[in-house]
Subunit: 182 residues, 3 copies
């Protein structure tokens, strides 16, 4: 039996959190995971403004209290003054995984040259992997398609449940020695 993967989603947007417009990041993420996951999972979400202290507090709560194995943020990663998601994420990190930021930008660069303006990071806090995703539904899907193959093995390595995926959507990669027989 496989333990349930607990996923935390944090939509970071002044406008969405104040009700000016509807958040699009969380529905896009929910749809992607519904199609991609083949082992049990559950999702919690939060909708917060672009305030660094609030972001840090929310990430800590989802990791340490709620016990999420994977937390994904959407929004707030650009160069504008209110974009502080990466700073908040780095502030709560125990380990930085620079390959996630690099590869998320490389993936997005295939679609738009302004992908280099994104400051997304991937970090580990305790037993939680935290990834900054873009804010737009289309870019969220492109990014997950481009990097999620490495996420299940990362979750193995930090002590989370054994995640299995629907290979028609995304094929998880693990070294042979880490693959569990079905």
């Amino acid at each position: 039996m496989t333990d349930e993967l607990l996923i935390g989603l944090v939509s970071i947007s002044d406008r969405a959190s104040s009700g000016v417009y509807e958040d699009q990041g969380i529905p896009a993420l929910r749809e992607w995971f519904s199609a991609a996951m083949a082992s049990p999972w559950r999702m919690e979400h939060r909708l917060i403004p672009d305030e660094r202290a609030v972001i840090e507090q929310t990430l800590i709560e989802l990791a340490d209290t709620a016990g999420c194995h994977l937390v994904m943020t959407t929004g707030g990663t650009g160069p504008a003054p209110r974009d502080v998601t990466p700073e908040a994420t780095l502030a709560v990190a125990h380990k930085v995984l620079p390959g996630f930021g690099e590869q998320m930008r490389q993936v997005s660069l295939k679609y738009v040259p302004t992908a280099i303006l994104s400051r997304q990071v991937g970090v580990v806090r305790g037993k939680t992997l935290i990834l900054n995703l873009p804010g737009q539904p289309k870019a969220i899907k492109e990014t997950l398609d481009g990097i999620f193959a490495a996420v299940p093995y990362c979750i193995d390595l930090i002590g989370g449940p054994y995640v299995e995926t629907n290979e028609a959507v995304i094929k998880a990669f693990r070294p042979k020695s880490a693959i569990r027989p079905k």
Copy 2:
């Protein structure tokens, strides 16, 4: 009417600043911008030695006092002991944009394998985007050709003037919602 873009150029070289040889970075940059820009611009330049305190002071002066929207350095980004441009740039940064360094190295790697030795960074200080460019005219042109498409939108996001380019040289990219009608 579009406001004028104020560009600061900083050539960082012990030998050029002491008159041992002629700086080649600033003429190369002036030539590239003359061909590429379609909206009003003006350029200031400085020629300074590889001294970290002098570089920091010059970047701060160009950003905060002169009010430059875009500052570009040339030189001093390698692994040699006197190469301290990235350290000085990071020391005056409010936000780091790792995608610029990554992509500048990726672009240069198409030409020389030693591009991985460059430690170039891109940062934001207040309303100023600061980019470390290589020192050689050929490499400066290759780098600008490879990353400048994202610069006008970055300047929009940090509160600078709406920059328009000569599309025969470089086509600026903006999301549809950010494009102003002519």
Copy 3:
């Protein structure tokens, strides 16, 4: 006459250093360098556990006391709690060369999508270049094949001996002005 290149190898592994299994990194590195080097070289090695303080102390000893021009670590760069090689390497660094980490991940990504989980870095400490390599022999060879072309010129720039390679294995790249006549 060319001075001898002094290479330090550090195999970082709890299991290998306690004798639970045989270290495979150092034999793989010795084999690669035997084939690749065309100028004089000598190799020292250390086998240590995944303890940050021990790693830092070993890197400092190899750089400052033994006078190695090039130090390579293997192992300990992933997201698991005991993986602390990059933190130890950054802690003893005088200069970080982000291009090495980026390019080592790009190279490994051609083989496995989990390459983005590696947190490898390249740094300079005094006159020593320190590179974190993967732990598996196959991945070590792939990485060196992908990045070593830039290493001899880097060693020139930080004051080490002029390294020549066997071009059938790896062709060192230097700008024309840095190439010494045979």
